[in-house]
Amino acid sequence: MSNSNPNIAKPKRGVSLYSYSGEYGVTMTMEDMFADMHDMGAEGLEILANTHIDGYPEPTDAWVDNWFRLLDKYKIRPVEYGHWVDSRQYQGRELTTKESYDKLLRDIKIANRLGFTVMRTKLGVIDDDLTPVTNWREFIAMALPDAEKYNVRMCPEIHSPTVLKSKMVDDYVEFIEKQKTKHFGINIDFGVFQTNPMPMWEGQDLSTMKFSPVEDMVPLLPYTYACHAKFVNMSDDFVETTTPYDRIIELMIKHGWDGYLLSEYEGRNKDVPGYSSGQLRRQHILMKRLLGEE
């Protein structure tokens, strides 16, 4: 169930509830998702605030009580709180710095109330390269004292088509170093390491797309507080056919990275009852083997 040797620093297994998005509310309840994660020995989870918190952004005490009941019953840790700064929330203008900060602060407080210490802070973008809004430094800097007070780390997700060696990532690292902060970092989505075409996009031509060599993550690991273990296709012999999981996890173990790998299933048949769960189970067998569990 848990890591075989807790003294060796290595990644831990978790699940993003996004994986169940084709079934949530239709064929699965919140408790069904907890039971499923527990069943595969996942130890942590990511929720999406705007998706999974009833009454968001003002959950009731009863909802919060049930949240902690589920965490306790299924032995799951609240790892990452997914939220958005929806810069184009209003048509025709971007959110101001103050509006963006206010949204951040509200989510920081909810994340803390629910026990999370990492936030997947999704920023609005201004172009096809997914360059974040120009005022991100201002509102993130405004929120740093709050993030410290409420013990959370705000982490934009580095997601394909962005690559790890890019101005965007350099800018984030420069900001972290300049602010000398432990409360802003990154979440690396494994889609950046894709090496083979996705089966649901027939004839996907990878030669026109940019991806990152796995070793590019090494200098970024000190700033990485969680990862999206993105996957789209697990074979029946427990291989993820698009992404080099073996090399990714090998390098993480070598460099002692001990954050959570949050499974994010983004493949086919998400609305077929049990399909995503079956893919998650295959992926967790893969990760257990690579992590040397059991």
Binding site: Y18, Y24, V26, D54, V85, Y90
Partner: protein
């Protein structure tokens, strides 16, 4: 639990006001994976049995409150929860007849983490097959 189809079977009925049937309504759940703020929504078009209704002919009821389509843009702090179907009420004097009807709804929402040009494209993507044949009792 909700119907897998986006247009829900429960909630389809004629609407009576002051003793007159002024239109019909139905409930549909979001086809996005997260809840959205009302200001992210773009006006819906409803097509029933080939007849199209839009703009002021359609209102949204979310969280027990009813909004005109033009008003949606103002409500940046009202959240349409993922598991709460929105009720669309369509003005059509006399309403619909008892029996089967073909319903389709088209709408869109802004998505700030996609390139800005996608906001317009999202209309096409999200309008998808939100169609269903429902039975009016």
């Amino acid at each position: 639990m909700l119907d897998k189809e986006y247009i829900q079977s429960r909630g389809f009925r004629n609407v009576v006001e002051d003793g007159k049937v002024i239109g019909f309504q139905f409930a549909f759940r979001s086809n996005y994976y997260r809840g959205v703020w009302l200001s992210q929504l773009r006006p819906a078009t409803v097509i029933v049995d080939g007849e199209t209704f839009s703009d002021e002919q359609v209102t949204w009821t979310i969280g027990g409150k009813t909004y005109s389509q033009a008003e949606l843009a103002k409500y940046g702090d009202v959240h349409w929860a993922l598991l709460e179907p929105a009720i669309l009420t369509v003005r059509k004097p006399g309403g619909l007849t008892q029996g089967f009807h073909d319903l389709e709804v088209k709408y869109a929402y802004s998505c700030s983490y996609f390139p800005p040009a996608m906001d317009e494209l999202m209309v096409a993507i999200s309008s998808g097959p939100l169609a269903r044949r429902l039975l009016l009792v």
